[in-house]
């Protein structure tokens, strides 16, 4: 009976959500460290969304598949290098580093190629036909489906067996929280890659071309910018970074290279991109880190099942106050 509504809700009120502030405080630094490591992955993937969005105004739904193909690439490199799935490898440091760099290269190339192919096969023909913007969204979805399914048919729906190149090992402590070698590597490597990408976009001539196409493709052409090349370039950069993210992802979470494993991560990364201000590379970076960290805080405060809810609530709240994201251009374009 409707009369039960209060009871039902009250029961909920007591039961289903509780705020554990103690845990939030206790695990604050742990979450911060962990969140930053996770956030680096979001950031790297988010850049791909943001760049493509900037130039084509397209939410590239298939970017999550660009990512997952990179993950498979890295995974099979590990296998090729003779690492047994299952065990934790104990190779000498130098060898491990070389192998990691190798895997990084393969992952980046795989993702880059997929991104490029996508551009060629799914988007360029549409551009030629001057399709409306939303149509790209649908081919993106179609491509995402197709790639996922192809991987699934090839591999089967189960996650690949875990391979761990390096075992997590605490390196040092900050605020009483140990930072593992993996976390540190991932964080630093991601930061370096992001900085390179950023200076490429903001400092170089080609980067300026990208921004010009993003703002007004026709006029950019009138300035001598080769639009097609610029678009290709953004897909490649996005793909390369997603590939890097993929390697970092399997370093942190060895379990989970699975055909649809990119999906949720993709959504989170896109959320991060929007959070930071879509179209803005630094925004993607900031958004990724923020999202990673806040998710973890929320998880501590409310419990693991609320983690994703927290991510979206953070997004909504921030957009309420900054409707174009944290670093988004405010009204710059919308002069009346």
């Amino acid at each position: 009976m409707i009369g039960n509504l209060p009871t039902v809700l009250a029961q909920g009120g007591v039961d289903w959500i509780s705020f554990d502030i103690g845990r939030l405080v206790d695990q604050f630094w742990y979450n911060t460290v962990n969140g930053l490591a996770y956030g680096s992955i979001y950031s790297l993937v988010a850049v791909g969304y943001t760049l493509v969005y900037g130039v084509l105004k397209l939410i590239n739904f298939a970017h999550s598949e660009v990512f997952i193909v990179g993950a498979f690439g890295a995974y099979f490199t590990f296998q090729f290098l003779g690492y047994e799935s299952g065990g934790i490898a104990q190779a000498p440091l130098v060898e491990t580093i070389v192998n990691l760099i190798l895997a990084l290269a393969v992952a980046m190339i795989c993702s880059g190629l997929v991104a490029l192919t996508l551009e060629r096969v799914a988007y360029r023909p549409l551009r030629r036909k001057k399709a409306p913007r939303l149509v790209f969204l649908i081919t993106a979805v179609g491509a995402s489906f197709a790639i996922q399914q192809a991987i699934m048919l090839w591999r089967n729906p189960n996650p690949e067996l875990a391979i761990q190149l390096i075992a997590p090992r605490p390196l040092f402590e900050v605020f009483g929280v140990s930072v593992t070698n993996i976390q540190l590597t991932v964080f630093l490597a991601a930061l370096v890659l992001l900085l390179i990408a950023d200076s490429f976009i903001n400092r170089t001539r080609l980067g300026r071309g990208i921004r010009a196409v993003a703002q007004d493709p026709d006029t950019a052409t009138l300035m001598g910018v080769n639009k097609e090349r610029v678009i290709m370039l953004t897909f490649i950069i996005g793909g390369l970074l997603a590939g890097a993210a993929a390697l970092f992802y399997i370093m942190q979470i060895p379990q989970g290279v699975v055909y649809n494993g990119g999906f949720l991560l993709g959504i989170k990364a896109f959320t991060a991109a929007v959070l930071g201000g879509i179209g803005n590379l630094r925004g993607a970076l900031l958004g990724g880190f923020l999202l990673g960290v806040f998710e973890n805080y929320g998880q501590s405060l409310l419990g693991g099942q609320w983690r994703d809810v927290v991510a979206f609530v953070v997004l909504i709240v921030i957009l309420m106050f900054r409707p174009t994201g944290i670093l988004g251009e405010s009204l710059g374009k919308a002069r009346v």
Partner: protein, 383 residues
């Protein structure tokens, strides 16, 4: 006779959707009805056209496939109001569908603490009302956002709805609600009309709902409201400055879309008789969106076609079930590349009365097509 200098191009070919529309608009009212009525009859008779190549059997029960297709059509029509008309990119539409389904579940499943023997029609009304209210609740804070910021926030809300269903015990998560009540009524032999197994009554019910919704939504589109939506879609600032209370109309678009989504949620839950948290994810939202865009965002007939493609294709190819999503994904790409404006492009023609006014003032009928104002008016008479 006109100052106009355009000549119709010889090389350029007329797009398919345009041709259909030109043809349709060229028909008299009488002829239009003469086509509409048999088509509607045919639609109602679909369940009896259960033969190759239309049928989905042996993969899926044909009648249920029809119902599911109709259900997606209804959803697409609702989403089209939001996306196609008002231009609000909503990636969380499945949330409203979910709310409708959950209202039905909460009111009519014995697993629910709120269960009582409500008349089924009341469930429909409550379902729609609750989704509308949630449309307002979700719309009010988010509709100040523009474009894709709105898209991601709606996606977030859609996910939040799903995750709440996951996490609030009263909503029973994955376990779900069983044995939902169905509409009343018995055949003459005393068996229930609406059962889980028989798709036909459900299909008819949904088709009827679709027709009603089409009429109502059509009324809106041809009114100030529809114009306001398009204006907002085109240039929100300008619309506001031209006196259109944009925010209010955006919320309306959202709420009307929500109501239709809620209605189809109630229907879905009723037929299936079971509701849990599993089918309300982003992918489903995106599929709904795909239906709208595939058909031709903004064009009702197109959207219906799009929904049919989206819903029917996977059912049809259930037989090759392993490959069906691969086929489906590739089909989306190929279809879009071949028909980038959607199966039927966006509607564009003068308002009904505009045609009369135009004729009176310009002294000849409104040119039917959009692109060329002086369609095929022969060799221009330019100076």
């Amino acid at each position: 006779m006109s100052a106009h200098h355009f000549r119709s191009g010889t090389a350029t070919k007329v797009p398919f959707g345009q041709r259909i529309r030109d043809w349709w608009n060229g028909l008299s009212r009488f002829h239009q009805w003469a086509i509409i009525i048999p088509v509607v009859v045919l639609v109602y008779l679909m369940p009896f056209l259960n033969f190759f190549p239309i049928t989905t059997e042996p993969g899926t029960d044909f009648e249920l496939a029809l119902f599911n297709t109709a259900r997606i059509v209804l959803i697409a029509i609702g989403l089209n109001v939001v996306v196609g008309q008002a231009g609000l990119l909503d990636l969380g539409y499945v949330g409203f569908f979910a709310i409708g389904a959950y209202v039905a579940a909460l009111m009519t499943s014995r697993d629910s603490a709120l269960y009582a023997e409500y008349p089924w029609l009341l469930v429909v009304v409550v379902g729609i009302a609750v989704t509308m209210v949630s449309g307002v609740i979700i719309g009010t804070p988010t509709l100040r956002l523009r474009g894709d910021y709105l898209a991601i926030v709606t996606l977030g809300f859609g996910e939040i709805v799903r995750l709440l269903a996951d996490n609030i015990p009263a909503l029973r998560g994955n376990v779900g609600f069983r044995n939902l009540e169905r509409p009343p009524g018995e055949w003459s032999d005393g068996t229930r009309i609406f059962t889980q197994g028989d798709g036909i009554p459900w299909y008819w019910l949904t088709v009827t709902a679709i027709i009603a919704v089409l009429i109502l939504v059509g009324n809106l589109e041809r009114s100030r409201v529809g114009r306001a939506w398009v204006a907002i879609r085109e240039d929100e600032d300008a619309a506001e400055i031209m006196g259109v209370p944009t925010f209010r109309f955006k919320v309306w678009a959202f709420v009307i879309g929500a109501a239709i989504g809620g209605l189809s949620g109630v229907l879905y839950a009723g037929q299936l008789g079971f509701v849990n948290n599993a089918r309300f994810d982003v992918v489903t939202s995106v599929l709904f969106l795909a239906a709208v865009i595939l058909g031709g965002s903004g064009n009702k007939v197109g959207v219906i076609l799009g929904a049919i493609v989206i819903a029917y294709t996977p059912e049809r190819f259930q037989v090759v079930s392993e490959y069906r999503y691969l086929i489906f994904g590739l089909a989306l790409i190929v279809l879009m590349i071949f028909r980038p404006q959607g199966l039927l492009g966006a509607r564009q023609r003068l308002l009904a009365r505009g045609r009369q006014a135009y004729k009176r003032l310009v002294g000849k009928p409104e040119p039917v097509s959009t692109e060329s104002p002086m369609k095929d008016s022969g060799k221009g008479t330019g100076a």
